[in-house]
């Protein structure tokens, strides 16, 4: 059991209807599947929404997840993003409180290193915006928690799309 336990991604085209999000998330809770993150938004076609779902699961469970999603009437298409070339990013905001002058300098350096932006500024606080892979965001959150006393974090969940030519993830 647990063969191939790892993080995986699914891109899902669904009908843009009331209750579909609840049906998809309900499947994950009803069948005890891990749901790491789920993002949803409309597409160029307003009747279609697209979801990017991240889950940690083994080979067998992941097969089941795809099959179970596929058999739902509201699901139009299931694409496995795990082993294909995709562009995938997550937005992350971190607000850092009680910053000293030295802290602020360090935060600007962190922002530069991670290609983040400082998007807002207060007397003793700073707001940073990161757009990068969820894994890198994990690392940033860990780092910031260690380095600074009080932070506030909000993350958007990964959003992905297939690459055209660029063969990297």
């Amino acid at each position: 059991m647990n063969k191939g336990m790892k993080k995986r991604w699914i891109s899902l085209y669904v009908e843009n209807q009331v209750g579909v999000l609840s049906k998809i998330s309900g499947l994950f809770s009803a069948k005890s599947y891990n749901l790491d993150s789920l993002t949803v938004g409309t597409t160029e076609d307003p009747t279609v929404s697209r979801m990017t779902i991240a889950t940690v699961s083994d080979d067998e469970t992941f097969e089941q997840i795809k099959k179970q999603l596929n058999r739902m009437v509201e699901v139009i298409k299931v694409i496995d993003f795990t082993d294909v070339f995709v562009r995938m990013k997550e937005i992350l905001y971190i607000k850092v409180f009680n910053c000293s002058a030295a802290d602020k300098v360090e935060l600007f350096q962190i922002a530069e290193t991670f290609k983040a932006k400082v998007i807002d500024y207060g007397k003793d606080s700073l707001l940073l915006e990161f757009v990068q892979t969820a894994t890198k965001n994990d690392a940033v959150v860990k780092l910031m928690k260690e380095e600074f006393g009080k932070i506030e974090v909000v993350r958007g969940g990964s959003v992905g799309i297939e690459s055209i030519n660029v063969m990297e993830r």
Partner: protein, 572 residues
């Protein structure tokens, strides 16, 4: 263009779908639909006494006619009472379209009187569910609902109808075609994959067919028999698959699983190819997973991709409708040399034949023998419990017979409404319900429906004064501590510390009479035949036959839950 109300369009749609019976219970949110139905007489309305029974009746009607069962209930409690019935139908893949009333759109979310989010509540137990939010979508949604319910792996669909949407005027058109971009059931069979499976079959030394409920749902029994006879490969069935081949057929071994026949379970354990069709490998048939069919390669044909390789590893998966696949098999299969293997199976049959102890007093076997003798064609409906497993072991299911039950969900209370639905759909066939005294009381109010619909169903109650299957577990695994299973327990037994119990209640005979049904109590073997003869004479009234059964009667063989063949209990 002509404009009509949603209520009118609904009735028109039902007619175009060829709906003959509607199982309905009225209420404030559906009163306008009731009113429309009043103005016509093509669709006949059955008025049950409880919405749970209502769904079971539509469910049994669907299972025994192959048509879609149609339900109409009101909002709130009317809708929530559907839940058990929907889950039952969903688990056993029964096509239903259930209409629920809903409060007007501006009231939704306001905790209005009799408002519930029924689509949300039933999301995980329906194949599809939707609230109609715009009048112009109504026709399309109804059309899609019938299509989704009956195609692919059949299942229940729920349509929630806000009262104001239904009152609104709109197009009178009911669409002719369906196009759902996310729902394209695949029924055709991949020939290459099937041929690989058949090659495996021809090479196997000890091949075995495992037929599940899917064979029955697809109405593939006849062509399946052809394949079995041509290949000479023996067959085991699940409880839901019983009847996939006549239980009197020489190549039929028995049911497998928790209460399966010894020879059937041995065959599964020893086979080198398990060729399975239309089963989900439920835990009740597999027992401990890694010791299930340990020597076998496994072929699995199922219409539901999600059923394949979920519980057990499958060597050759084939996604297809059972009838399509078996029909193709009939074209390609070759005879297999199975005589040695069949001899081995016969030896197992002789070693431990399926039988019950006979101690002179009346037992379930005597009743089953009478049913087998006295009815050529029949629909057998069971409730859930000991009597259900015994029925599935001993009642012959030949070509003219069918057995239905709540197999997956195991819903007590299915028996009586199930018999009603089956009889409504099959007025010319004898319908025999077999229930325990517990399950019978879970929907006993339906006696009124049976009487008023003039349904001569034969309702057998195996009365052992206990919730027998739970008692059986308590006897075998819980030191005979009969907690919560004695149906005579109450204040008196509590007061006297279990020394005294009152008479059994209800008196089923008087109960039958008070409803205007016939009641016969049978205590002795010799009276069984006469009771059935008497019941046959009632052509317009239901007959209750109450059989007094020893509480010590058990269902054997039994494999402990989660156990293996070695844990098989033959008798004690």
């Amino acid at each position: 263009m002509k404009q009509i109300t949603g209520n009118k369009l609904l009735v028109k749609a039902l007619k175009e779908e060829g709906v003959e019976y509607l199982f309905g219970y009225p209420g404030a949110c559906t009163i306008d639909i009731s009113d429309e139905l009043y103005k016509q007489d093509e669709i006949k309305i059955v008025l049950p006494r409880h919405e749970q029974a209502l769904v079971h009746e539509a469910d049994a009607y669907a299972r025994t006619t192959g048509k879609v069962g149609v339900c109409l209930v009101t909002s709130g409690p009317g809708a929530t009472n559907l839940v058990t019935g929907l889950a039952t139908a969903n688990y056993d893949s029964v096509p239903l379209v259930c209409f629920t009333g809903q409060v007007a759109r501006h009231l939704i979310g306001n905790d209005a009187f009799q408002e519930v989010d029924i689509v949300g509540i039933t999301r995980s137990i329906t194949k599809y569910g939707v609230t109609v939010r715009n009048r112009e979508d109504l026709g399309r949604i109804i059309k899609e609902a019938f299509y989704i319910a009956r195609t692919g792996k059949p299942g229940p669909v729920l349509i929630d109808l806000p009262k104001d949407v239904m009152a609104e005027f709109g197009s009178a058109e009911y669409p002719k075609n369906v196009n759902i971009r996310g729902y394209k059931p695949n029924t055709s069979v991949h020939i290459g994959q099937l041929k690989r499976a058949l090659k495996m079959l021809s090479k196997a030394k000890r091949p075995l067919f495992l037929a599940g409920g899917g064979v029955n749902i697809a109405h593939a029994q006849e062509v399946f028999r052809e394949v079995v006879e041509k290949t000479q490969v023996p067959v085991v069935t699940t409880v839901m698959g019983r009847g996939a081949i006549s239980t009197k057929h020489p190549l039929f071994i028995g049911n497998l699983g928790m209460h399966g026949a010894y020879a059937a379970n041995m065959a599964v354990s020893e086979c080198d190819l398990l060729f399975s069709i239309g089963t989900r490998f439920n835990d009740r048939i597999t027992g401990k997973l890694h010791e299930f069919a340990p020597h076998a390669q496994i072929v699995h044909i199922d219409i539901d991709t999600a059923s394949i390789s979920r519980n057990i590893h499958v060597d050759i998966p084939i996604v297809a409708d059972a009838k399509e696949a078996i029909t193709k098999m009939a074209e390609y299969v070759e005879p297999c040399s199975t005589s040695k293997w069949l001899a081995q199976i016969d030896a197992w049959k002789n070693e431990h034949p399926l039988t019950m102890r006979q101690n002179g007093v009346m037992g379930p076997l005597d009743i089953f023998n009478a049913i087998n003798e006295k009815f050529d064609d029949a629909i057998i409906v069971t409730d859930v419990g000991q009597h259900q497993m015994l029925t599935s072991q001993y009642v012959d299911i030949t070509e003219n017979r069918q057995i239905i039950m709540s197999g997956g969900l195991g819903t007590m209370g299915y028996g009586l409404p199930g018999a009603i639905g089956a009889k409504i759909g099959n007025p010319d066939k004898p319908v025999i319900a077999i229930s325990g005294d517990g399950g019978m009381q879970m929907n006993i109010q339906e006696l009124a429906t049976a009487v008023l619909e003039e349904l001569p169903v034969i309702l057998c109650i195996f009365n052992n004064e206990y919730l027998g299957m739970v008692r059986q577990w308590q006897k075998l695994f819980y030191g005979k501590r009969y907690s919560m299973t004695n149906l005579r327990a109450g204040a008196l037994s509590r007061r006297t510390d279990g020394e005294e119990y009152p008479e059994y209640t209800p008196n089923f005979i008087k109960l039958a009479e008070s409803y205007g049904a016939k009641g016969i109590r049978v205590m002795k073997k010799e009276d069984i035949a006469a009771a059935f003869e008497e019941a046959k004479k009632n052509t317009k009234t239901p007959t209750i036959i109450e059989f007094i059964i020893d509480p010590e009667e058990m269902v054997y063989p039994m494999i402990k839950p989660g156990g293996t063949l070695e844990d098989m209990i033959m008798d004690c």
